[in-house]
């Protein structure tokens, strides 16, 4: 399963705070950009890593935001990637 660093960042944010929306993710992370976040979220939802719900009542803007939640598959992918990142960092640490 291939996962990019942006997708990994999104998954970590969604797992930390379920129900987060796109702009909150951009504000919480330096790696995510406003212009591309929604395309990434849409693709991740297509892959089944996230699910989203539209807000019942629209916000100040008059448009309903979508809030994102992790799925079981998303959590599994995140755990696998975290284990890989840790192993890689250990390897780099051992090399140095």
């Amino acid at each position: 399963m291939r996962i990019s660093h942006v997708q990994y960042e999104v998954l970590s944010l969604v797992i930390q705070k379920p129900g987060i929306y796109g702009l909150e993710m951009v504000k919480a992370s330096d790696k995510l950009k406003r212009a591309t976040i929604y395309v990434h979220l849409s693709r991740m939802e297509d892959k089944g890593w996230l699910r989203s719900e539209a807000e019942k009542e629209p916000a100040v803007s008059g448009m309903p935001r979508r809030r994102y939640f992790p799925t079981g598959e998303g959590q599994r992918v995140f755990k696998a990637q975290s284990a890989f990142v840790e192993a890689y960092q250990d390897f780099l640490g051992a090399g140095a």
Binding site: Y38, A59, S61
Partner: protein, 180 residues
Amino acid sequence: MKCKCEIAHKKMTMALKIMKLTIYCMIATISISFCFIAFGFFSEATLGFWVSINAVRAGLYLSIFSLTSIIPWMYANRLFAQGRRILGIPNVLYANAPGNFLVKTLGFLMTKKAYEYIVVQIIADHREEHFDSLAAGNFWHAHYVVFRMYAFVVLSLAMALVGNISSAFFSTAIRLFSGK
């Protein structure tokens, strides 16, 4: 049934509108007249060789036009705003929220999913920031946010389109070469 004060308020607003229109017409007439006068005045005999250059002449006309139309128009607007404040008429401007055009056109042209997941979210974010900037009196930033919103919508849609086309292309290529 409408109360007397409401009728008086409507009449006053209408009178102000007519006055404003009259003053705008006067400003336009005066400005055009000045340009005609200048047309007679700007000759080589009066201002020398430089006036014969078209660019210099255009610059002179433009400066006369701005001096005689834009500046009086700005002062007239300010005067009317003050007048409304003195008379107690609220100076409220009703305008569409930014991205209204995008919502109408893209909602019709795009698939429901792409529209709801990408366009609506970008517009919602930028509208919120736009309203915050307006409330803080930061008008230039509010305009910049609207410009950025259009740029981001175009960029995101382009990115989604390129992603869809490339994934379709590669999946077809893999299917063809693997013989499945």
